[in-house]
Symmetry: C2
Subunit: 193 residues, 2 copies
Amino acid sequence: MGSSVLYMSMSLDGFIAGPGDEPANPGGDGFMRLHDWFIGPDGEFGNVEGPARDVIEEMSNFGAIVAGRNTVEQVDHWGGERNGVQIFVPSHRPPAPSVAKYPKVTYVTDGIASAMAQAKEAAGDRRVMVHGAYTAQTALEAGVLDELQIHQIPVLFGNGRRLFDVLPERIELDILQVVDTPEATHIRYCVRR
Amino acid sequence: MGSSVLYMSMSLDGFIAGPGDEPANPGGDGFMRLHDWFIGPDGEFGNVEGPARDVIEEMSNFGAIVAGRNTVEQVDHWGGERNGVQIFVPSHRPPAPSVAKYPKVTYVTDGIASAMAQAKEAAGDRRVMVHGAYTAQTALEAGVLDELQIHQIPVLFGNGRRLFDVLPERIELDILQVVDTPEATHIRYCVRR
């Protein structure tokens, strides 16, 4: 089975969204600063050269997604799919009625471990892409997150929403890979069990 | 003049001290986990081989120290000096009477900018080592911190004291150097002005 990997762009001070993150202002003030590294010289998303290109290509090879409700609602479930794969959303509340038009989007009401098991099943031998701060924390706590790919951005955001708030216990990681570019330090960690 | 550089070991989730950081438990629970990278195979501090050795040697070449009161009181002002250089402590309160026995320790009561100016003067063309979370934040806010050398440790502490709490505005950084070792990712940043 493939591993579950959290992909997040984070400021040095730990923020993944700026201040004022709400539906009318998705990602908060200055959010796009965290994603500059992903934009090519032509302004196209993902069209970058150099070592960051390998990071993006690796990211793109996923077979299912587990994403938080906050994340998916802000982007309207990426229009129902991303790269053609299924999207699993752990949530205790049922989905909005409009989600019924997306057959590849599944709301999972019995917890993160169940959502991850279904996503791994759907992904086969490909990775499960995990997205969202709350989802990452619950996956870490439940022991179902295998790896973290952090795109660490050379900026101090000062305020906003943190990727890691408070966890119930210490979690050891192993560094798998560091990719050094001027725009971001891409560090991949494995969760030690 | 030399630059002012913050040197701090930080967990991936941004903590530089564990839970329960108080005088009877300096650095809090699990504090030493953040400094494992600094300990050689013989158990000696700083006696490491490989790329981390260069990081340590660069760190050791400082001409003055600016350190927070919390930091210096926990280590009794390093016995009055470190590497023979002067130590400047920004604090609004006068020092404890016992500090009078340390001629190289100066408490500066008129703010971080003054403390940094005095330290730069004392350091000559060598660097000023900056230490402490609160001191780092006030130096950043006052615009008198030039660089940050973060030893990012592959662990999620879960709780404790953060290096960066809340800053009044966004601060852009440039990545100067990344040193990739299994024990830590050493990232050096320049504060953009």
